[in-house]
């Protein structure tokens, strides 16, 4: 029995870390992988998702629907920013970093001015369950399920829908896609919106577990950037395996030496990966393929 309890604890730690890495990185990975934009406003899309979720939930809207609203709000915000600012910077990657950083500062400080330094939160739903002598949060396990569903959903979206085929054609050969009749500007706009909505979903899902402050996006930034850097540009061949690998490292180090060492481990991993595999896991997996 001891072993089973230990195995379950390890699985729980891994699942918790995996869900967090996948959910916080997905939006960043879609925007970087599909459009080559390094979006420093990623944390603010997460913040937007969390705020809208909490605000609607406190109005009495059922939590799952409130979360959907949070995600959609971030998606709409993303599309508006893409149409007004980001689309001018597609061939200027460095400028896009500065611009998205600026957007990030404006959104954080704007929220602080308008809504104040914090907002009353909502409590974590679903309670807990116990295995052996330990009790675990049910909600964390739900998040693992949601992370897996998001991965499956995105796979289906990109590989089995017309939108997916057109967006992949657009990243692979933008000029040819355009000459073949695809409105590539619209594809970029929708893809950016999707990335922002996924970031918003991360904020929405974790909103009940964190304090609602304007800088809450920062809690997700390290994990999301580390995952995307380790994974490289491909959402499926990169982000998912990177999140799994990093989750093992993080869960092990956190269990052994505590939260801080977990973070340190992630950062050391990313440094080693940049040295050995500059294109990330997906660059390595796709090497030799055209």
């Amino acid at each position: 029995m001891e072993y089973i309890h230990f195995a379950f604890t390890a699985f729980y730690q891994f699942g918790d870390a995996f869900a967090f890495l996948v959910l916080s990185a997905m939006g960043l990975a879609v925007i970087f992988g599909m459009m080559g934009i390094i979006n420093l406003a990623h944390g603010e899309f997460i913040m937007c998702g969390a705020y809208v979720t909490v605000a609607t939930a406190r109005l009495g809207v059922p939590l799952p629907i409130a979360m959907l609203c949070g995600s959609l709000a971030a998606g709409v915000l993303g599309m508006v920013l893409e149409r007004t600012i980001i689309h001018r910077l597609y061939h200027r990657p460095l400028d896009s970093i500065v611009a998205t950083w600026g957007i990030s500062l404006i959104l954080t400080q704007g929220t602080l001015i308008v809504l104040g330094s914090s907002m009353a939160g909502i409590s974590t739903p679903l309670g807990s369950f116990s295995v052996g002598n330990y009790s675990y949060s049910t909600y964390r396990m739900v998040l693992l399920g949601v992370a897996v569903l998001v991965l499956i959903g995105l796979y289906l979206l990109f590989h089995h829908t017309t939108f997916g085929i057109h967006s992949r054609a657009t990243i692979q050969a933008p000029h040819m896609a355009k000459a073949a009749g695809i409105d590539t500007g619209r594809m970029y706009s929708l893809t950016f919106g999707l990335g922002a909505a996924l970031a918003g979903l991360a904020g929405a899902l974790y909103a009940p577990t964190i304090s609602i402050v304007p800088t809450l996006g920062a809690n997700f930034l390290v994990e999301s950037f580390v995952t995307v850097v380790v994974g490289g540009a491909d959402v499926f061949l990169g982000t998912a395996p990177a999140a799994a690998t990093l989750a093992v490292i993080k869960a092990f180090l956190t269990g052994w030496q505590g939260q801080l060492m977990g973070q340190v481990g992630l950062l050391i991993t990313v440094m080693v990966v940049i040295r050995i595999l500059p294109q990330g896991l997906s660059g390595w997996l796709l090497k030799g393929r055209t």
Partner: protein, 239 residues
């Protein structure tokens, strides 16, 4: 150069190029409905620039490009394509990390309202595209990729097909195959063809009429009879 209502495509005094340099210097030509017209010329005379200007990947600085009676110079590439222009670029440019079927699926964007798509004919012409529907396009040989690029432009039943050096880097027997299929497409479905080519055999088997291009200008126009005279063609190409 005559312009009349039977022309599907007419180009009048078009100037275009990259940056500040003009590659095309007042090019004018016309292609009638159901015609197969070739533009011939040596490397670097602006043939590919002409094709890119027609589909809108390069905007013309001056002149008019009329398709189906309407000036399309101001339209974006994807808007021009959706009017029914299938573009088969130099070097094929298939979406290499996508499957053959997914590549064809992109071609559906060209379909006209009420016209639908035609996979039957694509598979009849190029059976390999059906047999290997789930293979990644990047694993195809040059000739197979060319068939895919043509199939992709055919799916949506275009009115006009622009072919940029379809014979480049492809085995002679496949070139024959491709020529035969394009001619069949023209005869049976009335698809208008404008191709740019250096391969004399391909032009002589396919084209009904031919423009000769040099230094960004159209220098000669050859009627059908002149196209049959191999020696005369050689002389002109050696200019």
């Amino acid at each position: 150069m005559t312009t009349n209502s039977t022309n599907l495509l007419s180009v009048e005094g078009v100037i275009s190029g990259y940056g500040t340099t003009s590659v095309l210097q007042e090019v004018s030509l016309s292609v009638g409905r159901g015609e197969v017209v070739a533009v011939i010329g040596r490397n670097g005379v602006g043939k590919t620039t002409l094709m890119k200007t027609l589909i809108g990947l390069i905007k013309n600085r001056q002149g008019i490009i009329r398709f189906d009676g309407k000036d399309i110079s101001a339209l974006e590439s994807h808007e021009r394509a959706r009017l029914g222009i299938g573009y088969i670029p130099q070097g094929r440019e298939v979406f290499s990390r996508m499957t053959v079927w997914e590549n064809l699926k992109v071609g559906e964007m060209l379909q006209q309202p009420g016209e639908g798509v035609d996979y039957e004919r694509v598979y009849e012409f190029f059976p390999i595209l059906k047999e290997r529907a789930n293979q990644r396009a990047g694993t195809f040989s040059g000739g197979q990729q060319q068939q895919l690029a043509i199939g992709r432009a055919m799916v949506g039943k275009p009115k006009l097909m622009l072919l940029d050096e379809p014979s480049e880097g492809i085995q002679p027997n496949i070139v024959k195959d491709i020529s035969r299929n394009i001619l069949k497409l023209n005869r049976e479905l009335g698809v208008t063809i404008l191709l740019v080519e250096q391969n004399l055999d391909m032009i002589m088997t396919m084209a009904q009429r031919c423009y000769v291009m040099d230094k960004g200008k159209i220098t000669h126009e050859l009627a059908n009879e002149q196209l049959r005279d191999r020696d005369a063609m050689r002389r002109i190409l050696a200019v």
